[in-house]
Amino acid sequence: MSALIQSQANETFVLNLGPQHPATHGVLRVKLTMDGEYIVEAEPVLGYIHRMHEKMGENRTWAQFLPNTGRMDYLHALAFNHGYVALVERAAGITVPERAEYLRVITTELNRVSSHLLWFGAFILDLGGFSPLLYAFDDREHILDLLESVTGSRLTYCYFRFGGVYNDIDDNFVPGARAFIKRLRERMPMYHNLVTKNIILMKRLQEVGPISAEMCRKYGATGPVCRGSGINFDVRKHEPYSIYPEMDFEVPVYEQGDSMARYMVRMDEIEQSLRIVEQALDKLPEGPVMAEKVPKILKPPKGDYYHAVETARGSFGVRAVSDGGNIPYRLKLRSPTFSNLSLFGEACRGMLLPDALALMGSLDLVIPEIDR
């Protein structure tokens, strides 16, 4: 390949993918240097919807920043909520009532399923299959309805508060969630029969876009991307938070490192998340959903704090520096897709353009979270 590139160095051309392109799912631009149908060089260009959330964090109180967290990863907003409130609770030493922790995990896991369902539909759409999207959205709609009844919103959730959650569930939530689990479990074999075992999909994904475990490490890839490359790393197991240690679930890991492996990881994760929700519903304790003594004006002690959570796309970390005041001195948001996308340039070198799009889809990009 390299000899080919060298001999035809002046026969390459530059192709712009995006910023408005259906395959980039938002405003991501990729500057591709092409040699015919092959990619010689790929450079993602970011920042089209950069909003400087980190600066906003330095301009408002700890609590006022809460709504921002739901506006980064709009597909798994509750996990971002969770990461931020858990950080502030760690810094200020707030204990959360058990029922609130259960509600957090139930809603976060349902949100993870909805995120994976949307990814599933959009990914197959990238590859040219239209109808799975409609099936996935049908299922996802049930989750949105469920979550709307508890959180009050359908997409950019802001449900968690320091010390708990702002609203207890109503009587319809538990039966509704159980009915949904039953429904999706019945539909998963259909997804596998229609899509996973489809020969066209297999040919498009198997051995396409290999990512090695070493590449994951050098670029800091987390989430399904690293688990598709044989790395057993899930923050929920690795540095357990909330009530995850009490839950019985497995972390799906596939060794192949190709796009199919990442696809399989997410499909298996849907089932594992359903397992977690089911167990949490069984064990859901009675009690308050808010800690009693949370100060109105929060002033975490001076120092550095870090908290990581597992989102649908990987490890989301918040690093805060507090100067003892009611406003964060510094707030760093480590978003998983930023690192996952950074390996794209190296991973897609020498690939065919349609294969690179399959690789990009298998990374599950959410642009507002990359650009922050």
Binding site: L46, G47, H50, M52, E54, K55, E58, L87, R90, C216, R217, K218, Y219, G220, A221, C226, I231, N232, F233, H238, E239, G303, D304, Y305, Y306, H307, A308, S315, G317, R319, V321, Y329, R330, K332, R334, F338, S339, S342, L343, E346, D371, R372
Partner: protein, 190 residues
């Protein structure tokens, strides 16, 4: 591998000042302050131990030196006042108020580059900090060791203006391509 083992390795690699922190309270196991010249050595130790790069960021410590001096002055003043009161209470002549000692110019405030590393197998998040003067913020790049650092360093350069010496392409990543401002500096005015 645990915090202790990697701490020993780092100490053997010639890196000074490694502090173990309380994980449950802080969220990271090792907190380490290095000089910019020691940075590459420290990162190489982590690379050899199989760590992955989590993030790079900065903190602007504008006004820190002035705050430190003020704190020291208040401390001295309270001590002097207490001494005088004790003297009056003992029926003695209160000591004359000493004129404030002349203090030199404030030391320059620092920009801090913060590197977070984590391990896929062991629970061991390592934080490395290096401080550089605000007027000449230069840190060597680690993108030759961790290619993933490339974007993190570009982002940090965008936000803080820290120059990563030897970086292959230090152009704005998230900010507009002609941006010449650094919004996370504490003296930034929009």
């Amino acid at each position: 591998m645990n915090g202790g083992a990697i701490k020993e390795k780092l100490a053997a690699g010639g890196v000074l000042a490694v502090n173990e922190t309380e994980y449950a309270r802080k969220g990271f196991a090792l907190d380490m302050q290095v000089a910019p010249e020691q940075l590459l050595a420290a990162i190489s130790v982590l690379d050899a131990a199989g760590f992955f790069i989590e993030a790079i960021t900065g903190v602007d410590w504008l006004g820190e030196q002035a705050a430190l001096r003020k704190e020291a002055e208040t401390k001295a003043a309270t001590a002097a006042k207490a001494k005088a009161e004790a003297a009056v209470a003992a029926g003695e002549e209160p000591p004359p108020i000493e004129p404030a000692t002349e203090q030199g110019e404030l030391a320059e405030d620092a920009l801090e580059a913060v590197y977070d590393f984590n391990h896929y197998e062991a629970l061991c998040r390592v934080t490395i900090r290096t401080r550089v003067p605000r007027s000449k913020p230069e840190v060597p790049t680690i993108s030759s060791i961790y290619p993933g650092a490339n974007w993190h360093e570009r982002e940090t350069h965008d936000f803080f203006g820290i120059t990563f010496v030897g970086h292959p392409c230090l152009v704005p990543l998230l900010l507009p391509e002609d941006a010449d401002f650094h919004p996370l500096l504490k003296d930034f005015l929009p």
